[in-house]
Amino acid sequence: MSTATDTAPVTASANPVSQSIRDSLVIARRNLIRMTRIPEMVLFGIIQPVMFVVLFTYVFGGSMKIGNTTDAGVYKDFLMAGIFAQTVTFATAGSAAGIADDMQKGLVDRFRSLPMARGAVLTGRTVADLVQTCITVLVLAVVALLVGWRTGSAEPTNAAKILGAFALLLLLGYAFTWIGALIGLSVRTPEAATSGGIIWLFPVTFVSNAFVDSSQMTPWLRHIAEWNPFSATVQATRELFGNPGVVQSDAWPMQHPVWASLIWSVLIIAVFRSLAVRKYRSASA
């Protein structure tokens, strides 16, 4: 066998942090290339929230009471924060399915036999999913503007606040992909991962302030909804967008939604990242 190139593996990387970043980027790049080869996956990811926007605004709009009005236009502006937040969490299914697929195809075995950084396969995946979420959110924002959604419709806002809202949304989406990573490592097939990555999101996103005014729920349900980690981001986004329906409540996360959103997301990342990385190290297809 000819060995024209110097194929000696580079000796132990001096800095584990830079190796970790490098390896994660290699994997993220790989997943982004995959995305361009399966554009329909990205497309479905976009169609779903767009469909939700249309269905919710035209079917529910006019019959939903926000504060003390059932005005369809108010509901539309109220709704968008909820749709954005739900959309970013749906990335969970993608990362779960992707990782389960890598397990099933034996790719995880290959990666685990390589001298690469421990968490890089999962970090690379979640970073690629974040890129996809950005694209989805961007398209969704355009569609929302087209159907008449406007920021600052209830309270004045500014560009910094709006960008802050999107940052919180993306952080939440990123945190949820780590839950997806753990699910992907825990199930046997990509199909199971897709359903396992998504079914629990329905109660989480519906028992919240995303689509209805939580102050009009029965007390116990309202309590759950307002402490639901997901609701904090919705409330924060709504407030920063200057949209109507920001709920007045005794619940701490509703009073300090930006902080609550940040804390929840960081906590989810910390917990699920360490669980997922530990699971990955002993993963076997």
């Binding site: 066998m1 000819s2 060995t3 024209a4 190139t5 110097d6 194929t7 000696a8 593996p9 580079v10 132990a12 990387s13 190796q19 490098r22 390896d23 290699v26 790049r29 790989r30 290339i33 995959r34 080869r37 399966i38 195809k105 034996g106 790719l107 075995d109 290959r110 990666f111 685990r112 036999s113 390589l114 001298p115 690469m116 002993s282 076997s284």
Partner: protein, 335 residues
């Protein structure tokens, strides 16, 4: 001094299943060990333990002089693994797959690129290099998987059933590649369900069953225990069996077994097809009519039969179904 791959008392259980039940191995540097056994014997589990993918419950494993359990990442720098199923990303091209693996072995971008090009050439994949591997045939995917395991020319290689599911042509081709590799001094542990394959590629063979090594030796030693090649024939008329036995005695390398009721005679031989032709000619000269004649080479089943007294309990024939093979050839031809 222990060899490049060394294992002592490896045990791995999955619930009630003792997948490895005290496996000892010692593969000297630059040699090939064939791990031969039926489905479910524990071959894959052994490979996974030795390549840091599974942590053994007990026992010791040392690869390239490094303890597998204590320093897994150091071991990973020195090994290449080609698993039981080709592990390549189906949406990436062959080139992208190899470059990615190179980068993950911590090669610099340019070096990874050059190495990928070189391997694609070497493994006859240059024409398909920029197509997603989804479009590859089974044989091509296997070759790419092997190439990925060779990106850094690791001193120690593991291949888990590299040719299972391949049609004969692809199998032959892969054997050629593996032989070249070994000629370069790589230490290799290869698992297989085919005695023929182990015979062809391995210096030493360890036969495994139920998580234990039940026999080891060179293929000649194993075959000697099994009986080696035999000529088997069925005589047309019962009263010519004596005459046929005389012919076989003249060519055979041992005593002839005679089964009266089936009119079947068997004799161990050396000399293969050429000898078979001579036997047929001689029978013809003597006017002995035969219903059937053939050269029988020992198979895994024969080895098992002679070692354990029972046939290997394969869950499913490992051989790819004829459909698969046809499919492979089609794709290969279509490229």
């Amino acid at each position: 001094m222990p060899g490049a791959i060394y294992a002592e008392g490896l045990v791995k259980t999955f619930g009630d299943v003792r997948a490895l039940d005290g496996v000892d191995l010692d593969v000297p540097e630059g040699t090939v060990l064939g791990l031969l056994g039926p489905n479910g014997a524990g071959k894959t589990t052994a490979v996974r333990c030795l390549t840091t993918l599974l942590r053994p419950d007990s026992g010791k494993a040392v690869v390239a002089g490094i303890d597998v359990v204590r320093q897994p990442n150091e071991v990973r720098r020195s090994i290449g693994l080609s698993g039981q199923f080709a592990a390549v990303d189906e949406y990436l091209t062959g080139r992208e797959n190899l470059q990615m693996v190179g980068r993950l072995y911590q090669m610099k971008g340019r070096a990874a690129k050059a190495r990928a090009a070189e391997l694609l050439e070497q493994f006859h994949l240059a024409d398909a290099a920029d197509r997603p591997t989804k479009t590859y045939s089974g044989g091509m995917r296997r070759r790419l998987d092997l190439a990925a395991a060779l990106v850094v020319s690791p001193p120690v290689m593991f291949m888990d059933e590299p040719t299972t599911g391949l049609d004969p042509r692809n199998r032959q081709e892969l054997w050629g590649v593996i032989k070249q590799l070994v000629a370069g001094g790589t230490t290799l542990l290869l698992t297989t369900q085919y005695l023929e394959e182990a015979d062809h590629l391995a210096h030493d063979i360890a036969v495994v069953d139920h998580g234990r090594v039940i026999a080891r030796g060179t293929s000649d030693q194993l075959k000697a225990r099994t009986g080696g090649e035999r000529v088997e024939l069925v005589v047309h008329e019962r009263d010519r069996m004596g005459a046929a036995a005389e012919v076989l005695a003249a060519f055979g390398k041992g005593s002839t077994t005679v089964e009266e009721h089936t009119r079947k005679l068997t004799v161990p031989v050396t000399g293969g097809a050429k000898l078979l032709a001579e036997v047929i000619r001689e029978l013809d000269v003597r006017g002995i009519e035969i219903d059937d004649i053939g050269l029988r080479r020992p198979t895994l089943d024969d080895v098992f039969l002679s070692l354990t007294g029972h046939v290997a309990e394969t869950e499913e024939a490992g051989e790819g179904s004829p459909d698969d093979a046809g499919h492979d050839q089609e794709k290969e031809a279509a490229k």
